[in-house]
């Protein structure tokens, strides 16, 4: 191991990165774009569900019931239909995703039998929005039911009162239920996976593809020196990206940061070592840039996006998939970040996650180092 040789390799790599300023710029801008999208555009909270109404009863009472849907943020009444085929067309064309059909004898049924039912047709081709929309509609219907029950009692002079149960939820850790706040950790992890695995997977593969690897092999530089020298610049880029991400999230979007920056950067470095080693390992194995980047995408970006608990909660996945997530570094990293940002957890609570991440890092570093042979063919 020689310090000068490592520095020489690093210098060569830095030169190569700097000569392609556009790639470097994009790499630094990607986290900002992602944050902007998650901050302003994408909302996991379903609101303003487009609603279509077909009131076949047309009485004061049915209108009164439907008014309850007007007064809320959850629904947006986009159409008043006057025939069933029109309802079908609106749903088919995606004009509305929920349609309420009030039956012709709604008011009369309610008066004579006490029971009346309203049809809620859901466009369940978007199953998620459909079930959330259904939940809202049910809550509104319940509110309406208890209102008319109270009126009914008063009319008859019954002294039952209005016994009801309300929940007073206090939300801990993310008080305003900002989806931004819990997406930030995921964005950080995703960006690091991209920087780490994408960029590094290309560096070695590129040398093979262009034939410069032969030149590198003929020099006295050792394989460990190549590894450290090549990865170091990307390590710096990765840490810079983390800082940009976390800094923007906290200062611009007001995401709370309750833990320690030291833990954040310590764990980020650990995660970077993991993705960098993985990218390095892939690039040594793939030997073509196309193959390397596709494999890197598959090995790091996808699991980070899909299986880390970033968007889809892990405890809702099938058990087998949950087992698979146990070996995914991104899962531990996202969990650590969430704790550091929102809960401000002490290091003791984070220890199991950090240990798991460190173990994976150790395995991958060894794997990456072993895979590289200073040999042709």
């Amino acid at each position: 191991m020689s310090w000068t040789r490592i520095v020489a390799i690093t210098r060569k790599e830095v030169l190569q990165i700097v000569r392609d300023p556009r790639s470097l710029l994009i790499i630094l801008v990607i986290p900002l774009v992602q944050l902007l999208i998650f901050g302003y555009a994408v909302n996991l909270d379903v609101k303003h569900v487009p609603l279509c109404i077909y009131d076949r009863d047309g009485t004061q009472i049915s209108q009164d019931f439907l008014k309850h849907f007007q007064a809320t943020d959850y629904f947006n009444i986009v159409r008043l239909s006057n025939s069933y085929p029109d309802v079908v067309r609106n749903i088919d064309h995606g004009v509305c995703s929920v349609a309420l059909v009030v039956p012709p004898q709604f008011a009369e049924d309610l008066h004579s039998t006490g029971r009346a039912s309203v049809q809620a047709i859901l466009d369940a081709s978007d199953s998620n929005s459909a079930s959330i929309g259904l939940g809202y509609a049910q809550a509104i219907t319940q509110t309406y039911s208890s209102e008319i029950q109270i009126a009914w009692q008063l009319e008859r002079g019954l002294a039952v009162g209005a016994p009801n149960v309300t929940f007073a939820p206090r939300t801990w850790f993310n008080e305003d239920l900002e989806s931004m706040a819990d997406l930030v950790p995921g964005v950080v992890a995703m960006v690091m996976a991209v920087v780490g695995a994408f960029l590094t997977s290309l560096t070695i593969a590129r040398e093979w593809e262009r034939g410069t690897m032969e030149q590198l092999i003929s020099t006295p530089v050792g394989k460990l020196e190549i590894q450290i020298g090549k990865l170091f610049p990307y390590f710096v880029i990765g840490i810079t990206d983390t800082a940009i991400c976390a800094g923007t999230a906290v200062s611009w979007f007001g995401v709370p940061f309750r833990g320690s920056w030291l833990v954040l950067f310590g764990c980020s470095m650990l995660f970077l070592i993991v993705v960098l080693s993985l990218g390095y390992f892939i690039s040594v194995t793939a030997k073509s840039q196309l193959g390397a980047c596709q494999m890197a995408l598959l090995a790091t970006f996808l699991p980070t996006f899909l299986l880390s608990g970033f968007i889809f909660p892990i405890d809702q996945m099938p058990v087998v998939v949950q087992w698979v997530t146990a070996v995914l570094p991104a899962r531990y990293y996202v969990s650590i970040l969430r704790n550091v940002f929102l809960k401000g957890s002490e290091i003791g609570l984070l220890a199991p996650d950090i240990a798991a991440l460190a173990a994976i890092a150790a395995v991958l570093v060894i794997l990456a180092t072993r895979s590289f042979r200073k040999r042709l063919a």
């Binding site: 303003h48 369940a124 081709s125 199953s127 960029l199 193959g291 405890d315």
Partner: protein
């Protein structure tokens, strides 16, 4: 005669491209392996549905009413009671450690207030470090509370004036989930995944293919042959178009046969939608290849475009929940149209009479991308 020569040149070019793409077992695998794996991950892992939210209860009232409320929780498939505690501190610590997501605390006097005909409030601590789960759980809470209160009220009226109990007015909501009766997540995700994978695969392959020749220097060799530029472009795009068609067929088969997603619309409309979208993806890929000098550049640029396109396509989150500006912006996103088209054909079974505006917009986009990239491309070769 000249036409025959042109056809012959294109044939040779196609032959070269196919050999180049399919020669290496590594690359061969890349054409369908990653797409298949992603399809399976999405089919199995991606679910927005939230069930069995873990919950801890502290019952300080300990009356028939409070136990009744708790039994409403245990009977609901939305909640799973993981712990009954006796101290308030246990609730706080459990939430901190992440043992459970909800902590319900029923105060003493709960039943008394209900018996007086008053509203009773129940304290709940919600771990909102995952805001989506928290929101959904809060929604479930109010449903459970509402059902409980309704039943309680009707029971009481029944006890006071039994003969009137059946006439207590109540409105029910009858849910009719159309197109996806079981509200299955995989039915929702699978059609969209096909569009996403097509975009990523075809755009990347096309962008790579041209840049690779430039980077290795074989582009010059191709250019000294008598091949014309448009013949070269055709030779570069046709193989990827065919690969895209093959992959789309494969993913459709996996989606329908393995995941049981119904294909209710006409298969010809599906094919048309996929092909128009493939042209759009090819156009984008070609455009990227004119913008990039190295494969690294083309890949990073492609990635830069892919992420926002996916996020704003309505694939994972509904477009109607986005701010108006982004809703309008999404019309320029071919992925938005193809996701809608795929979902509509698979699940709704509608045809061109409904989908023509999206098809048209997508076709316009494809035409624009292809012409701009071909113009730019010709220049970059000169």
């Amino acid at each position: 005669m000249r036409i025959r020569e042109a056809i012959e040149r294109i044939r040779q070019m196609l032959k070269k491209e196919f050999i180049q793409t399919l020669r290496d077992p590594h690359t061969r695998w890349l054409l369908f392996g990653p797409a298949l794996i992603q399809m399976f991950i999405f089919g199995y892992a991606a679910t927005m549905e939230i069930k069995h939210v873990s919950l801890a209860v502290l019952d300080r009232d300990n009356t028939q009413e409070s136990r009744e409320l708790i039994s409403h929780f245990s009977a609901s498939r939305y909640f799973r009671i993981t712990k009954y505690v006796s101290e308030r501190d246990e609730l706080r610590e459990g939430i901190d450690r992440g043992d459970f997501l909800l902590a319900v605390e029923i105060d003493s006097g709960f039943a008394q207030r209900l018996r007086n005909g008053q509203g009773a409030s129940v304290q709940v601590i919600v771990d909102s470090s995952n805001s989506n789960t928290a929101l959904v759980a809060i929604g479930y809470l109010s449903q459970v509370g509402g059902t409980f209160a309704q039943q309680y009220q009707i029971d009481r009226i029944g006890r006071i004036v039994p003969q009137m109990a059946p006439f207590v007015p109540q409105v029910d909501l009858e849910a009719r989930p159309w197109f996806n009766e079981g509200l299955l997540s995989e039915w929702y995700f699978v059609p969209g995944v096909i569009g996403n994978l097509m975009l990523i695969l075809i755009m990347n392959l096309t962008a790579f293919a041209v840049v690779r020749e430039r980077e290795i220097g074989t582009l010059e060799q191709v250019m000294v042959t008598p091949i014309r530029r448009w013949e070269f472009i055709l030779g570069k795009t046709v193989p990827f178009f065919l690969i895209g068609c093959f992959d789309a067929t494969m993913l459709t088969l996996v989606g329908t046969l393995w995941f049981g997603v119904p294909l209710r619309g006409h298969i010809a409309v599906l094919a048309l939608g996929v092909m128009v979208f493939l042209l759009a993806a090819l156009g984008l890929g070609l455009l990227l290849s004119t913008l990039a000098k190295t494969q690294q550049q083309s890949m990073i640029t492609a990635f830069f475009f892919t992420m926002p396109m996916t996020s704003l396509s309505g694939f994972g989150t509904p477009i109607s929940s986005m701010p108006l500006f982004f809703q309008r912006l999404s019309y320029f996103n071919p992925l938005r149209h193809v996701v809608l088209i795929l979902r509509s054909i698979f699940l709704k079974g509608v045809g061109l009479e409904v989908l023509w505006p999206d098809m048209l917009l997508m076709a316009c986009f494809a035409f624009l991308m292809l012409s701009v990239s071909i113009l730019r491309f010709r220049k970059s070769l000169e």
